[in-house]
Symmetry: C2
């Protein structure tokens, strides 16, 4: 059995991240991580007739970029795992249509990219796939009109709201046994946690309990502490949610040193960019990890990273019906071979 | 490596279907399979305030029923894999919230149940999970108002339209090594196939090419013919789509004997029930397989079944923007131990 504990997969044959690619929109390309992303779009419509088609095209380009970097062709890629925030994950499935690759559609809201890494790593480590493409995307304009208000209304956003990033990240995982490379060595599946947050704008508050639950499960299952990681990077808690996570850890007496904890949503934009609580969206953690964090591990700046993607499992319908906002989080341990 | 070919997983340690449960709505409970379903609802609102909450409650009850039959408690279930047609799969994720079980949210439209069986079987065979709950649901009223028109409008449906089933199926898979039982021995991941069907009502036509593609891949990967199966049960092609599948197979010179091919959507309702092309929805193949087909294998009526779930990967947005309807299909081989 490859399983460590209740919620964590230990990969006996840890897959290598053979290639990764990131694309972000113009606003994201003016943020603090601008120099790291592989592609910064000049506009967010990509020559398409709708935002949704633009997001599909962004997924296709990002997937192709990762495939080109890996020197694998469409025919060589045995599966694509991923999803997005659009109803019925049309950005991902339409991109999979274009690529012709076997497709496992996932939905974990903004946690989808890490959910894909955890699932694909198990399928590769278990010998079912030799390689798999993990991809997730989000687009500010598709998300705004679907979840909130049409952009044309110019609705004011509350200070606790995050901004859905126009971004996509793709990682090509492979069973190759090269000595050197980034490897995914373990992954934790989250539970759906709900502390009765009913403000659908306040994603950080809705997701922080799920992030804490998954980190605590990961540490317990692996017998590690937060100090065993050079960095714990959460996805999309934003500045407020990060503080709530630290408070939850303190209350539960779980050591979570603030200097080892960053949030992808809080890292994507500068505060001067007026994005309120930070970035969110499936593409946020995907682009920040593929564009920035994986390169930091490759450069030797980090050895072992715990990447924790979190999602708010709400829909406009559930919110309108008065339901609170459940959160979920998945965690993947990414480290340099031999580290 | 446990992999047979390009798209098919061969499970070296085939999981056992330890328990299964099915729930259907009143109309489905008046169809030809009425005697087989475990629960027939007297109404389709289940004492809830909305159709969406009713669907969540249906998922929760069906999951609990399967867990009770398996004699596993909530705490024992290591993962729930599943999804539904609601935007952001809220029926499944809210049910997972109630159950407190680690959750892997999937979206494969009406193919989701088989997608869950294929993925969960790999995670169990690979040693990552000891047991997993696979579940998928659909509800006529949530689907109508989300994808089509509010029921109150009384809109007339075209003859090629299928009816979204109010139904849920749940199967609890386990690594237990009992001699006897139903086992999932292989699973095939589909590609997203699009032959440019733009009629969003005509699911059978949109999905038949994907179903054919997956069946052909499964047979090629495993070196089998359709005659190696006592039955091939497709999900949700309906009466028209089944004919299209037979035509595609004939054109490609792949043997697909009509007497070994049934469709869950075409089996769920009698033609006199005026459901036009047949049943559809994630719950259709889930309830028909858990309620009827698995019991037929247990009774010795069938030895080896190829269950093929198919999904139309469209959203109202993609249809309104003039996109055609891509299809996808997953296949799981279910057989009696020792068969």
């Amino acid at each position: 059995m490859s399983r460590a504990g209740e919620q964590t997969f230990i990969y006996d044959h840890p897959p290598v991240i053979r290639a990764h690619a990131s694309i972000v929109g113009p606003k994201e390309g003016r943020g603090p991580l601008a120099d790291w992303f592989d592609t910064i779009l000049e506009d967010d419509i990509l020559g398409q007739k709708s935002w949704e088609l633009a997001e599909m095209e962004m997924v296709r380009r990002c997937a192709k970029d990762a495939m080109n970097r890996s020197r694998l062709s469409d025919e060589d890629v045995q599966a694509m795992l991923g999803g997005d925030l659009n109803n019925q994950i049309i950005a991902s499935s339409f991109a999979a249509r274009t690529l012709g690759v076997p497709f496992i559609g996932l939905y974990g809201a903004c946690s989808t990219f890490v959910q894909a890494l955890v699932t694909a790593s198990a399928l590769i480590s278990g010998g079912f796939l030799e390689n798999a493409l993990c991809v997730a995307s989000s687009h500010f304009c598709t998300a705004e009109r679907q979840f909130r208000f049409p952009l044309e209304l110019g609705t004011q956003r509350p200070p606790q709201a995050s901004r859905t990033a126009t971004a996509c990240g793709a990682a090509l995982l492979t069973a190759d046994c090269d000595e050197y490379g980034l490897r995914i060595t373990s992954g934790t599946i989250g539970r759906v946690i709900d502390l009765n947050i009913t403000d659908a704008n306040h994603m950080g508050a809705a997701m922080a309990p799920a992030v804490f639950d998954t980190i605590a499960a990961h540490l317990s299952d692996t017998g590690r502490t937060a100090e065993d990681y050079d960095l714990i990077a959460t996805g999309d808690l934003g500045w407020i949610g990060r503080e709530l996570l630290l408070a939850l850890a303190e209350a539960a007496e779980v050591s979570l040193p603030p200097d080892r904890l960053i949030d992808c949503g809080a890292s994507l934009y500068a505060q001067r960019q007026d994005t309120h609580a930070g970035g969110s969206g499936c593409g946020c953690v995907a682009a920040v990890s593929c564009g920035w964090l994986m390169k930091r591990i490759e450069a030797g700046d980090l050895n072992r990273l715990l990447l924790v993607g979190s999602g708010a499992m709400l829909s406009p319908t559930s919110s309108q019906q008065g339901q609170s906002v459940p959160g979920i989080a998945y965690a993947a341990c990414i480290e340099r071979s031999g580290a």
